[in-house]
């Protein structure tokens, strides 16, 4: 590099908001990975300069996307998060809300923001999140080799629109600024271009303004940057710039689409998050303290229970009570529900594991207890019960043609009918639970009783459930005694 003659001082130099060296590559660690003449380099540089000028480097958290700019975190010497494809505005929302003092910007291309991420940007803008979004639009998927993007211009040839984009086949180019300008919340929306030096300078001002808005706490700002992609467009950098200037601006007119920065006051600070000690009250969990007095942790337990029946039979609730009892006994538990969309009468089942060892998977493929509340569930799952396991079935006997696998104990009791004698057929699940206590025997009844107490809010139901539990135990005791006479 030539020696600078004496008498000259630096006017413009490498922004401080960039890292001194970019560690991604083994050599030439001052360069970006972008192609010659790429608009990303320019956009990065303008953002870095704005960060310098605003003196906010220590507060900035950048959210980078998927696309050519996926490696933005190698360049900006700020906080960095790299998000899943299209999700940058959602990630930025979370970052900003959890760190309101941070200046959070997302940086996204048109494939990321305007295709896979359309929902995220729309809703972040609609909520007026106090974030800044830089949207680099080059009308193409660059990183993946030039496929058509939602922003591809009519007639533009891409690898996936080789005949040129046809509105009747691929629709029209998506205008993000215009779309977001239909929303109430955004504070600032501007489209700029990188087609010549004058446009670049205007873009630089817009970028700084969009960050300044956030410093002032005004709300959602987005700058769309029409950007050249010489490589995919197969144009030299000067020609690509010309295409931005001559063609792109006709389809995507630059301009301010929303500017409420003068009339908007700073958004109110988010309400403080509730303290941890307030959570039990907010979640209605008060009185759910785990009182383990008098409960002994059984050793060597490994219950793999499948509870299955119709929705409305209390299948999931039965599983929950079992799991809660396990928690009370200081055991490892998991509860995995599986049900159809209907609240009643669909099929419903849950997998419950209660063990004294760490549970690797909540899935119960091979069960050692099957609680079948109806025939379809019995037929479906009885084959998966392993030797030494138990099947409890809600009827007087197994249906015709159904046999339990060898070495599996079967207890058939009409639980729903028994519950009906108590005046409430819905308590059939608890009658069944009582029977399980007698059959499988490893779970202390005191833990189940306490779990019921925690689970059942109404005193009338708790009283009923206790009677149901006892009825189930008693019936099972008799059945088992008969079976072994």
């Amino acid at each position: 590099m030539a020696e600078v003659p004496s008498g000259y001082t630096v006017l413009h130099e490498r922004p401080k908001a960039f890292y001194d060296t970019f560690e991604r590559k083994g050599e030439l660690q001052q360069q970006t990975h972008y192609c010659p003449g790429c608009g990303h380099g320019l956009a990065h540089k303008m953002i870095a300069r704005a960060i310098d000028e605003l003196g906010i480097q220590d507060r900035v958290i950048a959210v980078s996307p998927v696309g050519c700019s996926v490696f933005a975190y190698y360049y900006f010497d700020t906080g960095n998060v790299q998000s899943a494809h299209g999700r940058a505005p959602a990630v930025a929302t979370a970052v900003k809300r959890s760190r309101p003092e941070a200046i959070v910007f997302s940086y996204q291309g048109d494939g990321d923001l305007a295709a896979i991420g359309t929902a995220e940007i729309l809703h972040a803008a609609n909520r007026g999140e106090n974030i800044t979004v830089f949207f680099v639009n080059n009308a193409i998927y660059g990183m993946t080799g030039g496929q058509m993007a939602p922003t591809t211009m009519l007639g533009q040839r891409t690898t996936t629109s080789p005949l040129g984009r046809d509105p009747f086949n691929e629709g029209y180019p998506l205008h993000v600024c215009e779309l977001l300008a239909t929303l109430e919340a955004p504070v600032y929306l501007e489209r700029v271009a990188l087609g010549n030096a004058k446009q670049v300078m205007a873009a630089s001002r817009a970028i700084k303004k969009a960050l300044t808005n956030q410093v002032k706490g005004l709300g959602f700002s987005l700058v769309e940057i029409l950007s050249p992609c010489p490589t995919i467009w197969k144009l030299n950098p000067a020609k690509a710039q010309e295409r931005v200037r001559e063609e792109m601006v006709k389809v995507f007119p630059p301009g301010v689409y929303r500017d409420h920065t003068t009339e908007r006051a700073a958004r109110p600070a988010p309400p403080p998050a509730p303290g941890l000690d307030e959570l039990p009250r907010l979640l209605d969990l008060e009185g759910h303290e785990f009182d383990r007095t008098g409960l002994e942790r059984p050793a060597g337990l490994d219950l793999r229970i499948k509870v299955a029946g119709f929705g409305g039979q209390g299948v999931l609730m039965l599983g929950e009570v079992l799991a809660e009892a396990g928690l009370l006994l200081d055991l490892e538990v998991s509860w995995l529900p599986s049900y159809g969309p209907e609240m009643r009468s669909g099929t419903s089942n849950c997998h419950v594991r209660i063990a004294d060892q760490t549970i690797a998977s909540p899935l119960v493929a091979q069960s050692n207890v099957l609680l079948a509340m109806n025939e379809p569930s019995l037929r479906k799952f009885i084959g998966d019960v392993e030797t030494g396991g138990w099947v409890l079935y809600n009827s007087r006997s197994l249906p015709e043609g159904v046999t339990a696998p060898a070495g599996v104990e079967v207890l058939c009791i009409p639980f729903t009918e028994l519950a009906d004698t108590l005046g409430e057929p819905k308590a059939g699940n608890i009658v069944m639970l009582g029977a399980l206590l007698e059959a499988a025997g490893q779970l202390p009844a005191a833990a189940i009783d306490r779990a019921l107490e925690m689970h059942v809010k109404s005193a009338r139901w708790l009283e009923l459930d206790r009677r149901a539990l006892e009825l189930g135990r008693e019936t099972a005791r008799k059945e088992l005694a008969n079976a072994y006479v």
Binding site: Y8, T9, H12, F18, Q30, M46, A197
Partner: protein, 83 residues
């Protein structure tokens, strides 16, 4: 002997030949047309931009139009201290 009465240029520009990717956007942006792509190639096989050595006005447009973070540095002539 008298010094020739030549005003020094208002600006000066340096370009890191190894950071430059030869895109030529600075050449496009340069108003006084004192930047050009060199005849020689750099390490990566690009013709890097070069300053002719005189005529820079220090407008900074080449810097703003350069996609590389620090390939171009622009200087301005410091005002001579009042005599």
């Amino acid at each position: 002997m008298t010094q020739p009465n030549v005003q020094p240029d208002r600006g000066y520009v340096t370009i890191s030949a190894e950071e430059c990717k030869g895109c030529g956007l600075c050449v496009e942006a340069c108003v006084p047309r004192v930047l050009a792509l060199a005849a020689h190639l750099n390490h990566q096989g690009y013709h890097p931009a070069e300053y002719a050595g005189a005529g820079c006005t220090g407008c900074g447009l080449c810097f703003h139009c350069c996609p590389e973070p620090g390939a171009i540095t622009v200087y301005k002539l410091a005002r001579p201290a009042a005599a």
